[in-house]
Every structure is written in structure tokens, then in C-alpha cells.
Amino acid sequence: MVEVRDLTVSYKVKGGTLNAVDGVSLAVRKGETVTVVGESGSGKTTLGMVVLRLINPTSGQVFFKGEDITRLGEGELKRFRGRMQLIPQDPYSSMNPRLRVGEIVSEPLLGREDREKVKEALNSVGLDWAVVDRYPHELSGGQRQRALIARALVSDPEFLVLDEPTSNLDVSIQAQILNLLLDLQSSRNLTYLFITHNMAVAKYVSDRVAVMYRGRLVEIGDAKEVMSNPLHPYTKALFDAVPEGDFRAKLRELEVRDEGRQKGCRYSDRCKFVRDQCRLREPDLLKVKENHEVACILY
């Protein structure tokens, strides 16, 4: 459905360039959810934006249904707009406060007035038709996020990028939205690229999980496999930080290391299992099982 090959996005920063995304290859198959997990600054959001062609990659390619859309101009991209949609992180700033909900939801229709479409979309996210005349500030956070999902659905997309869609919501609302997203996926056969830093959410929504660390894909595989048998030391650290089991004991064990910049593996300075070879070169993704790849010299 969607594929990126050897994607790199670099920014100019003071004293050099920073690769927000660094040589990432990833494919999302039709109807599945691939979740990208990682800390802030890991490049997961940038990756999502590149896939939607909102940010231009420095190098590498982006494919949508087999077509190379990396170099397409805004005019040619028109064909793809609407077939890919975005569910944003912050339901507050993602709605123009001067527009009514109806106008916001129908925006992807590009001016074609289609009451039925809007009605159906609102219906499918569990919102009442009455909201179309409301302004965003009259809605709660959960209602807004529902409206934004309806907005994305109205253009009949096949592929959605979900950029931390529940991180600004209350826990009870998060459950509602996650269930809604799963239902919509199965009823409409949607393909998701789900971006999150919340491991519990990742576990609940993913078919496959991709772990990013500072722009680099360090581990990828089937959700169950990766989550129950994490291989990369960073992935392990991520899971160790989740409040589960005897968390207080885990915290006592926790080592605190500042990160610096080193040659070789970029996780080497924080890694518990670091060896001399780690400093030599950046490891590539290696297939350890049919459904599990990891970029670490330990394997």
C-alpha cells in the first residue's frame, strides 16, 4: 500500500545537518496497522509527514500503491490527496476556530456539497448531526477528535496516518477513540500508519511495530513478536520503562545515562550491552526471524 525506501530527511541546524529520519525503509500492507514507536525526536512524526508528502525527503523514495510519489509536484499530488489522510495529535489547534464543525468535516470534499457523505461520516464516528452548526470551542476534546476522524473519512481514504491521536485525551476517552479506530479499520478496510510513544496503545492497535531511535529504524516485526520478545536494547529499555509488574523494583535497577553523540551505533552511549564493535559502525537491520528484524550487532 505504502512504502518508503531508504528515506532520509535532514535539516540544517547550527553547526551541521541533523538527520531527522535516517535511511528508513518500511512498507505498510493493505489493511494492516504499522505502529511507529519512539521517543520525541526519534523522527516518527517526520516519517509520517514525509509519507503524506507534507515534508520533502532529502533522499529516498515514497510509494503509494506502487506509484513513486517522491518527486510529484503539488498539482500531480492532487490525485492522491484525500486518498491518504491524517488524524492529528492536538484536536484543539487542528480545527480552525472560525469554521463550523460542518464546514471542517466537509473540507476534504473540496467544495462539493455532499450532505449525505458528511452525515454518514459523522454517524460512523458516533457524532450527532446537530454538531455541524457548532463551533469547535463548543465541543469537548473527545468530540473534537471524533469530528476530525469524521473529517478524514469523508473523502473515502484508503490510508491514514495517525499522529498520536489519543495523547491529548483523557484515559476514558482514549479507550473510546481507540475502539472507534479499530472498528473503522475493519469496517472500511483501512490501512493505518500509527505513530505513538505509548506502549500500551501500540500493543492494542498494531499488527506490526517499528521502533525508531534518533531517526533510525532499530527494530521491526510482528507486534506480538516484538512486544513479547524485544531484541534491541533500546526496545527493551522502552518496555522496562512501562509501569508494569514490580515497577518500583525496576526503577531501582534503572540506570540513568545522558546521551551524547558517538560514532557507530547511535544507541551505544546509552546501551547496557555496549561493546567495542558498536562504536565502529552503524548496524543494519538484520532478519532474525521471519517476522522480526533488528539493527544490533548482538544478533
Partner: protein, 289 residues
């Protein structure tokens, strides 16, 4: 709508509006037929009645040439209101256009336009306007009003360019614009739907506030005799002319100055009120405490 309610609740806005309606009313009557308001002529000299203090017959007194100050104030209103209005409208259009283009196209165009804007902003505005009017208007006294308008537009537009650019840049980075892009809205559609609706109220508020400032600037030009050529009465010029009769005849410069103040204050009140009415965030600013 809530805007209407806000307007009614806002005392400053109401006060500004009321004064302004009275002044605009007087201006319109004065422009159509001054004799409806006063029995004196603003032009004819009458030295037997010079330097009369304010009284029931001459509520603002008379000047050194014996003209009724109140009548001259009324006669001055059309020029003193219309000229700043033209200046502000032209500045908004010019500056707004430059700002939107710069903010929207970004890159080199932005860099170039903003350098020019900065250059004009670097000038002390009034002084440049005075110089422009004086140099251009020297040999064409009859065109002086036009030149003074041009001069004040020259110094007035850059602020709007900055304002518009800033607002465009701010809205451009809002997540809802990103969403619009994903949905395939074109640049012009995004501009129309998302950018302009935020920009226009801002420009309205700012230009209302600016009306007050431009009235003051124009009055300074007139003060130095660079406004409309005589015999057209002008409030700023009347202030200057009255100075030579100080301190005995204080009324012929103080009253025109007072009228300018009232007009400028009413615009300022209205601008402030409009801002509060249009910007709910400002309202919160008071509520938070």
C-alpha cells in the same frame, strides 16, 4: 451572534462608537451645507470681532481675524476626517497585499519584500512624510493635499505589511492548515478559507486604531502648513495659527486641539473595544485573574 453581544457589553467600544457617530454626522452635514449648523462663515474676516472669548454667541470664541472658531472647526471636519480615512484604506490595501504575498510565497520574495518594508520602517515616519510633502509640494501648492496623502501612505503601509505577514506565517503553521493540505486544498483555497478570515478582523482592528494615529500625524502635517492649501480650514493649522496669540487668546488653538483629541480618542476607544470583542483570548486575559 456573540460579536454583537460583545459590542453591546463593551463600554469602551460603545463610547467610541457614540462619539464617532456624532462626529461623522457633523462632518456629513458640514460637507453638504455648513449653514445648517452655523450662521457664520468660516472664511470671511471680521476684525471688529477679533479675539472674542468663548460666549453664547461664539461658543469656541473667535480668532485673531475675527472668524468664529466653532464654525471653522466644523468646516475643517470633512478634510480632517476624509484624508486620514483615504490614507488608512490605501495603507491597508498596499501593506496587506505586500504582507500576504511575502508570508505566503516565503523564500526570496519574502526576503526582498521584508527588506524594503524594514527600510521604510527605519525612517522616523512623520519626518519623512514632512520632507516628502514639502519637497514635492513646493512648486505645486494646489497638489499639496495629494502629496501629503501620498507621504503618509508611504510611511503608513509597512506596519500593515509586517502585521499581515506575521499573521499569515502564524496561520500557515497551524495544524488545521496541514490537514487542509493533506485533503488537497490548493494554496488559494487555503488562503481564502483559513488565512484571510484570520487576517481581515485583525486588519480591521488595527486600522481602526491606526485611524487615530493617522489623524494625529495628518494634524502635525497641517500644523506645519503642509495639509490642504489655504483657505481650507484645518484643525492642525488652526492650532499653529493660534499659537501667536497666546497666552491671551488661548481658545483659538486649544479648541481645535481638543477636537482632534476627541476624534483620535474615539477611534482608539473603538479599536480597543473591537479587539476585545473579536479576540476572545483578550477576554480570558481579564477573566483569569
Amino acid at each position: 451572534m456573540s460579536l454583537y453581544r460583545n459590542v453591546r457589553r463593551d463600554k469602551t467600544l460603545m463610547a467610541g462608537l457614540v462619539i464617532l457617530v456624532v462626529i461623522v454626522g457633523l462632518t456629513v452635514i458640514s460637507a453638504t451645507d455648513l449653514r445648517l449648523l452655523t450662521s457664520y462663515s468660516p472664511y470671511s474676516l471680521n476684525f471688529s470681532a477679533s479675539n472674542l472669548p468663548p460666549s453664547a454667541k461664539h461658543i469656541f470664541g473667535t480668532d485673531q481675524e475675527g472668524r468664529d472658531v466653532f464654525t471653522r472647526v466644523l468646516a475643517a471636519l470633512p478634510v480632517d476626517i476624509l484624508t486620514p480615512f483615504i490614507i488608512v484604506v490605501a495603507s491597508v490595501l498596499l501593506g496587506g497585499l505586500v504582507g500576504v504575498v511575502a508570508g505566503y510565497l516565503a523564500g526570496l520574495v519574502d526576503e526582498f519584500l521584508m527588506r524594503i518594508t524594514d527600510l521604510f520602517l527605519a525612517f522616523p515616519g512623520i519626518l519623512l512624510a514632512l520632507a516628502i510633502t514639502e519637497i514635492l509640494g513646493q512648486s505645486h501648492v494646489s497638489l499639496r493635499l495629494l502629496y501629503s496623502e501620498v507621504a503618509l501612505i508611504v510611511v503608513g503601509w509597512p506596519v500593515y505589511a509586517r502585521l499581515a505577514r506575521g499573521q499569515v506565517l502564524q496561520v500557515k503553521n497551524m495544524p488545521y492548515v496541514t490537514l487542509a493540505k493533506v485533503s488537497g486544498l490548493s494554496r488559494t483555497q487555503i488562503l481564502r478559507r483559513h488565512v484571510l478570515p484570520h487576517l481581515l478582523p485583525l486588519l480591521l482592528v488595527y486600522s481602526t486604531l491606526d485611524m487615530g494615529a493617522v489623524i494625529l500625524n495628518y494634524s502635525v502635517l497641517a500644523f506645519f502648513g503642509l495639509g490642504a492649501p489655504p483657505p481650507t480650514p484645518e484643525l492642525g493649522r488652526m492650532v499653529y495659527d493660534g499659537l501667536s496669540a497666546l497666552p491671551q487668546n488661548w481658545w483659538s488653538s486649544l479648541f481645535p486641539a481638543l477636537i482632534i483629541t476627541i476624534i483620535a480618542v474615539s477611534f482608539s476607544l473603538m479599536g480597543d473595544g473591537l479587539r476585545d470583542a473579536l479576540d476572545p483570548r483578550m477576554g480570558e486575559r481579564y477573566a483569569r485573574a
